[in-house]
């Protein structure tokens, strides 16, 4: 099974809009939303059944038993995350605690224990030979990278007869993005023709290159700034990254999304352009055994 990951660096360039169009065009049997911070793919992929939900446990959180605590202050002094405070009693801030266990190790009276903590929820839609894996991180939680890994595992745990998996990624370049990159065959970056977009594009290209993943680029809303579109195309050429095409700004796209439909469900300019990008991407992914490595 070939895995295609859609990333962007900058947020709001159109990852989910394009991922949902690809899923529709490919009639994909296996797909996932790895933007566990702000998942949106489920809003636009029709699901006929309720998902199977499982709690996701991140790292445990420390808890201090005030009856055993002798207020020696060792836990507070050794905590690197400033998560222990004292105000009459010693207390752990569960949002700051990363569950490392140092406090428990230094406590001379065993007053500290590590308690499992729910850090999010995994959702799996599986019906008629189709599987969609997604999750929602609990607010203010860490360990989003670990949850991304779980989403991908969950997607692969359901055996479906699929030769393609489409994965919607998260913005940025940090832990959830790094976790989503592992094991994928190709990254399609959705770029945006703005100075900010170009700066972020360069950072995500570098990040993908560090993990040796084949990277290709398309530009969304290209006509909102043609000068910058040309700059991105020149950048692709210079870095020898295969360019997959331009998608125009299209107010019909917003209308389609707001009605819970993908841009290829309606007849519109952005839908036609994304079809061309899709065909080119599939050709490269399946027929030519991969493009130029970044």
């Amino acid at each position: 099974m070939k895995q295609l990951l859609i990333l962007s660096g900058k947020g709001g360039t159109g990852k989910t809009t394009i991922a949902s169009a690809f899923i529709k065009l490919a009639n994909a049997k296996s797909y996932a939303d790895c933007d566990v911070d702000a998942p949106n793919l489920h809003l636009i992929t029709e699901q006929s059944s309720q998902p199977m939900k499982t709690d996701y446990y991140g790292l445990p959180k420390a808890e201090i038993n005030p009856e055993l605590c002798i207020k020696c202050d060792k836990c507070r002094q050794n905590c690197r995350f400033d998560s222990i405070s004292v105000d009459k009693k010693y207390k752990v801030d569960p949002f700051a605690c990363e569950g490392c266990g140092v406090c428990k190790a230094v406590c001379p009276v065993e007053a500290i224990s590590l308690k499992p903590a729910v850090a999010g929820e995994l959702m799996l839609y599986a019906n008629e030979g189709e599987v969609f894996s997604t999750a929602q991180l609990k607010m203010g939680s860490g360990t989003s990278g670990m949850l991304v890994t779980e989403v991908k595992k969950q997607m692969k745990s359901e055996i479906v007869n699929a030769n393609l998996a489409i994965i919607d990624g998260s913005p940025g370049i940090g832990c959830p993005v790094i976790a989503s990159l592992s094991g994928v065959d190709m990254v399609l970056i959705v770029a945006e023709p703005s100075i900010s977009g170009i700066s972020d594009l360069e950072r995500i290209i570098k990040t993908a290159a560090k993990f040796g993943t084949m990277t290709v680029i398309c530009i969304n809303k290209f006509d909102t700034n043609v000068e910058n579109t040309k700059k991105i195309e020149a950048l692709c050429k210079k870095q020898r990254l295969t360019f997959m095409g331009r998608i125009p700004f299209d107010s019909n796209a917003v209308k389609a999304i707001n009605n819970g439909r993908t841009i290829v469900d309606i007849d519109c300019a952005s839908g036609a352009a994304v079809k061309a990008v899709y065909n080119k991407t599939m050709k490269l992914l399946f027929e030519e055994g991969g493009g130029l490595r970044s």
Partner: protein, 286 residues
């Protein structure tokens, strides 16, 4: 007065709002906490930039002292250590710098070394002090950089500080809004925008932060984000229309309020509304 600008969804206009508010306030501080993709500096093009590297502490192995007891490996909750072919290996990318392994090693085979993960820049643009945090590519967490950015700027009541937050609602956003006096949530009029607005709305409520919403990219007709605010009785601070001219200025990394009086007026009025809201909140809370 610290004002954090956040959105949940990416690309709704956090940087547009925070940069233009800081610029229209004239004397202010702008802090870019979106360390994975910092863009505010592209707009401000700050001068006299001073730079400081940010590092975290990572264990370093002396394999001559290590006797392979594996106590460190058993302890590490992040699986950042492994014993392979009679050698202790550190996986730097997943290390959380808790220091536990070093503390526990009975042979004193582990020591700490500094590893650079990014940098903080400080510069000026007219009378705006611009702070930027930049995470190096390939690094997992920008939280130490955000901590540094916010620790350098002790909150001052009479000084306006705008914090440009990362997207999402995870730990990194929480860290950015921790000391904020007020939060501006920027929302776009799409189904995705509303879903993510709801998430940050829950986040600011959880942390008990006073907040209001700016509706960006407004077009004629139904706005699902506006409906959401009305339904939840959320204060709408302002509506920024979808506007090609503003779009072009913004995509060319120009500061709209410095280029055009129309936008100067728009953001001045937003700033006044925000200031009033903050004063109202501080008086009603104290």
């Amino acid at each position: 007065m610290r004002i954090a600008v956040l959105s949940g969804k990416g690309g709704t206009g956090k940087t547009l709002v925070s940069v233009n508010l800081a610029a229209v306030a004239k004397i202010s501080t702008y802090i870019d906490c979106d360390v994975e993709e910092p863009n505010g500096h592209l707009f401000f093009k700050p001068e006299d930039v001073q730079e400081e590297e940010i590092s975290v502490k990572i264990p370093k192995v002396n394999n001559e002292l290590c006797n392979g007891c594996r106590k460190c490996i058993d302890f590490c909750k992040f699986n950042a250590l492994a014993y392979i072919k009679d050698k202790l290996i550190v996986f730097e990318e997943v290390c959380h710098s808790c220091g536990g392994c070093i503390m526990l090693c009975p042979e004193k085979a582990l020591t700490e070394r500094e590893k650079v993960i990014g940098k903080v820049q400080k510069g000026t643009s007219d009378q705006v002090t611009v702070y930027t945090g930049i995470l190096n590519t390939g690094e997992a967490s920008g939280i130490p950089i955000i901590k540094k950015l916010l620790a350098e700027n002790k909150p001052e009541a009479d000084k306006l500080t705008f914090i440009d937050c990362p997207p999402g609602s995870a730990c990194i956003v929480m860290e950015s809004i921790k000391d904020a006096d007020y939060c501006i949530l920027v929302a776009e009029p799409t189904l995705f925008g509303v879903h993510n607005l709801n998430m940050v709305y829950e986040l600011v409520k959880l942390f008990n932060k006073p907040f209001g919403v700016v509706l960006n990219k407004c077009i004629e007709g139904e706005n699902p984000a506006e409906n959401f605010c009305i339904e939840k009785n959320i204060k709408i601070l302002d509506q920024i229309p979808f506007d090609n001219e503003l779009g072009i200025l913004n995509s060319n990394a120009e500061i709209a309020v410095r280029e055009n009086e129309k936008y100067q007026a728009l953001f001045s009025s937003l700033l006044e509304t925000v200031k009033k809201e903050v004063q109202h909140e501080t008086t009603s809370y104290s």
